[in-house]
Amino acid sequence: MSTLAPVLSDLWDAPQSWKLDTYVSRNGYDGLRKAMETDPAELITMVKDSGLRGRGGAGFPTGLKWSFLPKPDGGPRYLVVNADESEPGTCKDIPLMMANPHSLIEGVAITSVAIGCHHAFIYLRGEVVHVYRRLLAAVREAKEAGYLGSDVLGTGYDLEVTVHAGAGAYICGEETALLDSLEGRRGQPRLKPPFPAVAGLYARPTVVNNVESIASVPGIVSRGADWFASMGTEKSKGHGLFSLSGHVARPGQYEAPLGITFRELLDMAGGVRDGHELKFWTPGGSSTPILTAEHLDVVLDYESVGAAGSMLATRALQVFDETTSVVRCVSRWIDFYQHESCGKCTPCREGTFWLKQILQRLEAGEGSESDIDLLLDVAGNIEGRSFCALGDAAATPVKSAIKYFRDEFEQGLHTPAWELFPYEANAAFTGVSS
């Protein structure tokens, strides 16, 4: 049986957990001290050996990504932390930065040293003002204490950190759109190649990593690569935040070694809310194919979730019980993708618009005979033909929901979803009509 492993979340219940003093009193910035005495190449090897894979969705090996930067040419190299967290269901980076911003700042400092960066950026979504306050304050505190700024810890290393607030656009989480946005433009994805490692921010070599990836680095450096690799499964190492939400008794953050099962996590969260049973869930946000009760024992690592037909991605486990209409859920997710489509490419811009129309008909019980095939057809035309992964993501809930719950879509030809699944029964509260 797996247990939890609070590494990043360990400090979160401390009084004034976000303050530098609190962090330092728990050995914070020890990793940076060690990093300053270590050869940068050795730091990259350490992170490679740890097996850390990107926590922002795709699971790409972090140390390997760093090693792709071209050899120094005397010009600037950048680290950009992706703190845009906007994938529906994903809610781990925001609490992390609110409770313990210094774990991220220390990771930023170590990573910068490892890749030879002297100006790092944290791109935070704009809709979380208190987290922005905490990050601005943390950078100021760290600078005053000599962990950032000029002459870091007296080593002669200079490191500037800019915390930048976005302005509301999911697509800015896509790394190249993020870079365009950080350059003061509309956040639209760039053509790859060139990849950010070669031509990223201001066309300079750039590493883009997720908040949790970077916040995991200090632990690897101070406790060792094999400590990190002692958690998790063969190809999915270390600890990760699992975020349970929806119809569970105790929704929230559960930090565990990768490879814990969904059943174990659900048990820890007190199970599906009282008197109800599991209907479907997402392993890693709305962009990952939904799974059902038959997948309770899926091991939550990259390989196993992939083998089950979905993706681990951001470990955003959204749980829906039997009172929920899958058609309503998919319809709302598609509203989101349609709203957030950046408009750059036709399959996604037009396709999400069409999906939305069809799903609204089906939710209202006014679908026509051909609508389900049309949905699959449109989804198929978006998937693989879009400029970036947002398009593919939009096709995902449609296809997976029809795969497991086609009959519910068929009912959408004649009966509104709210009659089949009265929406009041879903809510976390009772007795208030709108």
Binding site: D13, D49, G51, A58, G59, V129, S222, R332, V432
Partner: protein, 278 residues
Amino acid sequence: MATSMTSYPDDVAERLAQDAQQILARYPEPRSALLPLLHLVQSEDGYVSPAGIGFCADVLDLSRASVSAVATFYSQYKRHPNGTYTVGVCTNTLCAVMGGDAIFDHLAAKLGIGHDETTEDGTITLERVECNAACDYAPVMVINWEFFDNQTPTTAAETVDKLLAGEPVAPSRGADRVSTFKEVSRVLAGFEDGHADEGPGAGHASLVGLELARKNGWRIPGEEEAGEAAGPQVAADAAASGTDPVGDEGSSAEREPRTPGDADADPVKSTDEEGTDS
């Protein structure tokens, strides 16, 4: 009112120009300052005004059209004067199902306005917002981008009543009281407002896993017997001995890229395991 003006009076322009210099100093290239500058303009006018667009264009030596093109891309930049408070109800799927739709409908009926509309007295702009990364506190309301967790139609309406009556309201996880739209816009432009130390570090849902681990005595590797205090030393020892490659053979960390570019920025194809980023 700057509403109909296409440039600021001298004193305002001068004050904003000083702020703009501080913003520009944060970036290697000036154009990166555009998003914070637009937040700054909103802190002055409560929306992206014609004067504000002109100001950004002048500061960055861009055309007004290119500034507008950027401003209209992002949902937090307002084309019309915003209310003192943006009341956002998350109606993305998870929150909608958990009651967000009912909360939005209740507030809309109560205030007599719909999405992106403002009450006549200019106090409240109501919005449906997308997932705000607080799904474990669903259903969620955000007022000027401060979290109000685990809402019901009743609690949301009570908070809105206070706003209408000019009383302060306190978020679940945030500053002691919600600042105005203009004040918050200034923070988003990157200026500290002194409220960072207010509010909790974590809400209850952020701590459920940690509390369970504490209750059961679950420890992370290296701290099992030693207890918390010894952790870092144990860790340091482990690190000191860990110079050999420690990942299991065949671990993804060991894989070689096909070409440097290919392996880096197209993680999807190069790992063969994932279909999409998220």
